[in-house]
């Protein structure tokens, strides 16, 4: 150690291996509901007496108590602060949830979205006063079309699944405009789970296409399913097994040959952005989850946003509203009566889409630039392959690598150990990691789906890999007495131990009832 004359170190000590969790787990406090904390008569503020007045509420005035808990201000502050500390998110931990892309939300995006010129707008303001915001929407639309090579785009959908609905509605409108009736939609087993739900929600019949032993679409099975009643195919690429659908161009040709359209689920666009343009693969429409590819907050952190890009064939049917640039001015096309509306199938939601997400996404695109976005895809794929390569000797991978943005393992390595995928996930919690996605995709038994994203450093990945290797080896080494099996005991260091998920699902208790509380609280909870 180097030190000065006072014995103080002049360089930081070499970093030691750190656990992913904080050291204070012993102080994770049990937190009752705020209604269970009140002490009758305690108050946080003194209000002046109500001046004399004549109530005009008549019989509408409340007769009973409203059932608010009696609390002092520090109790309230601590209650909500402690609740907020129970929130595990990408800001506090590595969050390798497969298929969800939990990546860092750059603070530059947040700064841009909070600029008063954007943050204080109201969607009903005259458009003459919102030209900057409309210009931003137009510019984001431009970049989404450029990155995908597509002819049209809508920013309206409020989330990925809403985007799917939008794309399939455009396909339905296009088929109707051709004077045809096509009712069947093909959905590979390796597609996202929302795909068949979307097709069904639009009144299509869903026809599943099996996967090959390689985890990709079975082309022969696809050919056998084609017919004059096929409206299109919904395909996720890269798919939910983290694999690129190599035959995608052949699939596009087949579906177009049969008169159908090609919907690509672009949820995993983060794996190919800057490297592959969906238009070049024959895609007719695709949604882009702004949170997955363009780093907007996700999962309680912010609303979703699922813009959809369209091919020339489908662009005229895109929903309203959209921004059109006329000279220097931006005009909002909001009505079907507007000539510029084309054959639009109509509106998806009130107003113009999730403006705050548009600002963040454009901020991400512009701050990365073309080279930076390409590196996003490169690093996302590199990180997933690093995990696959470092774990496949102790775990078992169902498909030969390399993978795209997520690494998939099955539970064959746990055969005869008595340990399950769920047990490993619970052990991970004790070791300070949010578990990966498990038992999904369904085509892989006991699946572990790990998506590290481009955000994570080599050190973070190495820490996670070390933990996973330990757990895999510990499981295989045998755990002796089943009653003392640590895998079955986990998690140990959480406020609640292993929850009884079966009873929770079979006999759910959906409403809180105080055990013994004044009547007014019971009636307030009704």
């Amino acid at each position: 150690m180097t030190m000065n004359t006072h014995g103080r170190p002049t360089q930081p000590a070499a970093p030691t291996g750190h656990a992913n969790t904080g050291e204070h787990r012993g102080m994770i406090l049990e937190e009752p509901l705020i209604f269970e904390r009140g002490t009758p008569g305690r108050i946080g503020v003194d209000l002046p007496p109500v001046p004399a007045h004549k109530s005009r509420l008549g019989s509408a005035s409340r007769q009973g108590q409203i059932g608010l808990p009696d609390l002092a201000e520090p109790q309230v502050v601590r209650h909500f602060t402690r609740l907020s500390q129970k929130n595990y998110g990408i800001d506090s931990v590595f969050y390798p949830l497969g298929s969800c892309t939990m990546k860092h939300n750059p603070r530059l995006n947040e700064k841009m979205a909070r600029l008063p010129g954007f943050a204080d707008l109201h969607p009903l303001q005259p458009t003459a006063t919102t030209q900057g915001a409309l210009g931003l929407m137009h510019e984001l639309a431009h970049w989404l079309m450029t990155l995908t090579g597509m002819a049209g785009v809508t920013l309206a959908p409020a989330a990925g699944a809403h985007g799917e609905f939008c794309g399939m509605a455009a396909i339905k409108a296009a088929i109707r405009a051709r004077g045809e009736k096509r009712t069947r939609v093909l959905v590979p087993e390796s597609a996202h789970g929302t795909n068949p739900a979307t097709a069904a929600a639009l009144g299509f019949t869903v026809d599943a296409i099996p996967a090959t032993a390689e985890g990709r679409v079975d082309l022969d099975a696809l050919k056998a399913k084609l017919g004059p009643d096929v409206a299109g195919i919904m395909l996720t690429n890269p798919n939910t097994c983290g694999l690129f659908e190599r035959d995608i161009i052949a699939i596009a040709d087949l579906i177009h040959g049969a008169g159908g359209y090609f919907y690509c689920d672009g949820a995993n666009f983060n794996a190919i952005v800057g490297r592959v343009r969906p238009a070049d693969l024959g895609v007719d429409c695709m949604h882009i989850n702004l949170h997955k590819t363009f780093s907007t907050p996700h999962g309680g952190g912010g609303p979703g946003s699922g813009p959809v890009v369209f091919s020339k064939a489908l662009a005229p049917f895109a929903p309203l509203p959209f921004v059109q640039k006329e000279g220097e001015a931006c005009r909002l096309i909001e009505s079907k009566a507007d000539k510029a509306a084309g054959q639009s199938f109509g509106r998806m939601k009130a107003f113009h889409g999730q403006m705050g997400m548009f600002i963040r996404a454009l901020s991400y695109i512009l701050s990365h630039g073309a080279d930076g976005l390409r590196q996003v895809a490169n690093d996302a794929v590199l990180n997933a392959n690093y995990i696959l390569a470092r774990l496949q000797d102790v775990m078992s991978a169902p498909f030969a690598g390399p993978c795209m943005h997520e690494a998939l393992f099955d539970d064959r390595f746990l055969k005869d150990t008595g340990v399950t995928t769920l047990d490993i996930a619970k052990m991970l919690i004790d070791r300070g990691y949010h578990p990966m996605t498990m038992y999904f995709p369904l085509v892989v038994p006991g699946a572990f789906l790990i998506e590290p994203t481009e955000t994570e450093s080599r050190e973070t990945l190495d820490g996670f890999i070390k933990t996973m290797r330990d757990l895999a080896q510990q499981a295989k080494a045998g755990t002796g007495n089943a009653n003392a099996n640590p895998f079955k005991q986990a998690p140990e260091h959480t406020p609640r131990r292993r929850l009884d998920e079966t009873t929770a699902a079979r006999q759910p208790i959906l409403k809180w009832k105080p055990e013994a509380a004044p009547d007014y609280i019971a009636s307030a909870a009704e």
Partner: protein, 124 residues
Amino acid sequence: MSRLYFTKDHEWLRVDGDVAVCGISDHAQHALGDIVYVELPEAGAKYAQGDQAAVVESAKAASEVYAPAGGEIVEVNGTLVNDPSLVNNAAMTDGWFFKLKLSDAGELGSLMDEAAYDAYVKSL
């Protein structure tokens, strides 16, 4: 004299005359884990072989149960609605899903007998 058949999708079918009792196999309930919810068809509904007739949900996943042969539903096992654990505890007996009046006994030819099904499960 009843005869037992299985499908590749892990449904079983016990045929007695032109009525068949259907459920999911013991292998299927084991693979699904604790079953928490069963959605049954309505009596009188008609299905072709392979149509989705019921839904079974476990803590892990929701799965479709297909009609192992075509026919009309004549009775459903209502006790499963309140006690889905019957499927885990007695998949092949009390945990039956529905009874079908078969429309074409010839369809049974495409199904497996118990020995063939056991071999099929081992091959998975």
